[in-house]
Symmetry: C2
Subunit: 154 residues, 2 copies
């Protein structure tokens, strides 16, 4: 199969959309968690903020690269570059899943506790942040799977 | 590359050891979480018990199959069977990671809380269960990566 035929792999418009989705969802998750909420009192929330801080520059850079490759009509064919992208994607998607699950576990616990422990306006922010992190994870998993699919043909 | 040359893929002794490790660690995690501890008061702990209940039969069956294939000196070469094993491994490893992270997040929160909320003998059991679940996830990830590596050659 020709490399252009794999939709979602590096240098295609589907990949650009996936990267843009990752960057948007992870930024929204970070903003929802960090603005006006005392996230630093929970280890899992600090972990989520750290991981989102790693995912945002990674996704944004790759979105820019994808945009450039679409403009010059030249998909990436170098094995080394793709290997780095696939490994980076896998590591970040594992970290995102771990951060999103631990946040979701704690949000569930806080929602069951009484309101003095977690005011409703805080809890809803935590919940939205966890949901957005899960969405970012799904997009990240999709792009790493598409790039992995392309690897054996190189 | 010949199929027997991929160590850790289905039907090799390395794969048998990985499967055995998964079965042992997930059983130990389940026992540590469920025996004598009130795990059902936390959603994440119930999720961990459910996932471990899925991982144990899966790993144990595949360990038995691996043992059989080693005895008859016949590695698995059917694409369909390997595809089912790889997809099952991926799904279970994602579920195990999610369960282990959410459990670890809650254990960390409970360790920070006062002792009336979580007696030390309970908390250490939860902690051990989360650690064993992470170990089971590492083994599960390893065997799914080895089997995935084998797929394009079939």
């Amino acid at each position: 199969m020709a490399i252009q035929d794999v939709p979602g792999s590096m240098g295609t418009s589907a990949s650009f959309i996936l990267r843009l989705g990752q960057a948007i969802f992870s930024s929204a998750s970070l903003l929802s968690m960090s603005l006006g909420v005392d996230f630093y009192s929970y280890t899992a929330f600090c972990f989520l903020v750290t991981v989102m801080g790693l995912v945002i520059p990674w996704s944004f850079t790759l979105a820019l690269l994808d945009g450039y490759f679409i403009l010059v009509q030249c998909p990436v064919r170098q094995l080394g570059i793709l290997l780095v992208i696939v490994i980076g994607d896998w590591v970040l998607s594992i970290l995102t899943l771990a951060a999103a699950s631990s946040t979701a576990g704690i949000v569930d616990l806080l929602l069951q506790a009484d309101e003095s422990f977690c005011p409703p306006q805080y809890c809803s922010r935590y919940l939205i942040s966890a949901l957005l992190a899960f969405l970012s994870w799904i997009f990240s998993l999709a792009s790493s799977l598409f790039n992995l699919w392309l690897l054996p043909s190189l």
